[in-house]
Symmetry: C2
Subunit: 223 residues, 2 copies
């Protein structure tokens, strides 16, 4: 193979509009996110996205296969951020209580979800029913989450940290509770500052439920 004759001077060439390929790609991605959040995935068209990005229809197809592909990439990025926020709970470190680690995880998830408001909204509003392949992908991400939590709960039961009950069902209930809260919070437009107070409420809910036992006298558990 002959050596390249023309030396590439700049690692990222600027187009006539002053954007490198990566920047253009990122720009289209961001525009798509905006449009999806505004119109919902199903009602968003390629024309809406390119209008938002200020490029021509053809340009979109230089960077992405189709609407599904952009959506898929957006979800991937979001998922990986959420996954990073979830830390496995360790029990052999006396300096970190299980309770604090649980709280940390709740806080981490809530914070990211609030930071990535647009994506959180899209995920909850439009993620299902887009396309069979796509549903499967989302399902895998979700099932992993359920599996991790289910295992943690079963483990916790064995060690007496978690009460009895079908661990998988408890996992669904917990995840559902957090999902719903997130959805409401994002839809109603609360900001990141709320993460702290929400964290406390979620933790208290998971720890205690909310129905007080009528037979024994209520125990004050909150500080």
């Amino acid at each position: 193979m002959a050596a390249k004759r023309t030396s590439k001077k700049s690692p990222s060439k600027r187009s006539r509009k002053g954007l490198s390929k990566e920047e253009r790609r990122a720009q289209i991605l961001a525009s798509a996110r905006t449009v999806f959040a505004k119109l919902g995935y199903h009602h968003a068209t390629i024309d809406d996205i390119v209008a938002e990005a200020g490029v021509a229809r053809g340009t979109f197809y230089l960077y992405f296969e189709d609407k599904r592909a952009v959506f898929s990439e957006l979800i991937d990025r979001y998922n990986s951020r959420i996954n990073m926020a979830i830390l496995r709970i360790v029990t052999d470190d006396p300096s970190r209580t299980v309770e604090n680690q649980v709280i940390e995880n709740i806080r981490g998830i809530l914070t990211i979800a609030l930071k990535e408001r647009a994506m959180t909204k899209i995920l909850f509003t439009d993620a299902l029913g887009v396309d069979p392949d796509f549903d499967r992908k989302l399902r895998v991400f979700y099932d992993e989450l359920v599996q991790v939590l289910t295992n943690s709960l079963a483990d916790g039961q064995a060690r007496g940290i978690v009460r009895d009950g079908e661990p998988r069902v408890l996992a669904y209930l917990s995840i559902g509770a957090i999902k719903e809260l997130l959805y409401q919070v994002v839809t109603l437009g609360l900001t990141e500052e709320s993460a702290e107070v929400l964290t406390e409420q979620v933790h208290a809910f998971l720890r205690d439920g909310y129905l007080l036992e009528p037979k024994k006298k209520p125990v004050k558990r909150r500080r």
Copy 2:
């Protein structure tokens, strides 16, 4: 106004296919439900629905405005059935404990959701992002539910049956937990028989959460 000359003999005239207008309408509705459950709302077409019903395209439009109208009607029926299952909790009747009434409500909701498997699935998979008008309608139904629960919780707190915490947040968490469980149960294909055991799990979750207090020794609360 002149009296009608022709006496209507049969109250519901039979068409050439042997169905009254109400029956035909019901048949199309049922077919639409089947198709929505199979393909999802967004991917279902009028052609799919009429093929399922075994009628011509034009017939569909004799009974419904468009795809949205059928969907809307299906949701309305489902919603009213769920609403009927939710009974306001009374505290002045000594023969019925609050706990039992809570359990009754949980059981009622789960039973209907499992009976109306197809609709439950559709509602969770496709309900959002169909159309702005439609989203609003769903929102109203949902908000009412949240409001009822929020009020009940606040009331419960005042009477010492419910622990402290923002009632609205607790309402979101509870409803989210149940929603998620329902979704999973319907998607995974559990049958009506499971209603009883699920009811117990949900109730235990709402009552106790699942994290046992490390400081005090665990109390056996289950029968």
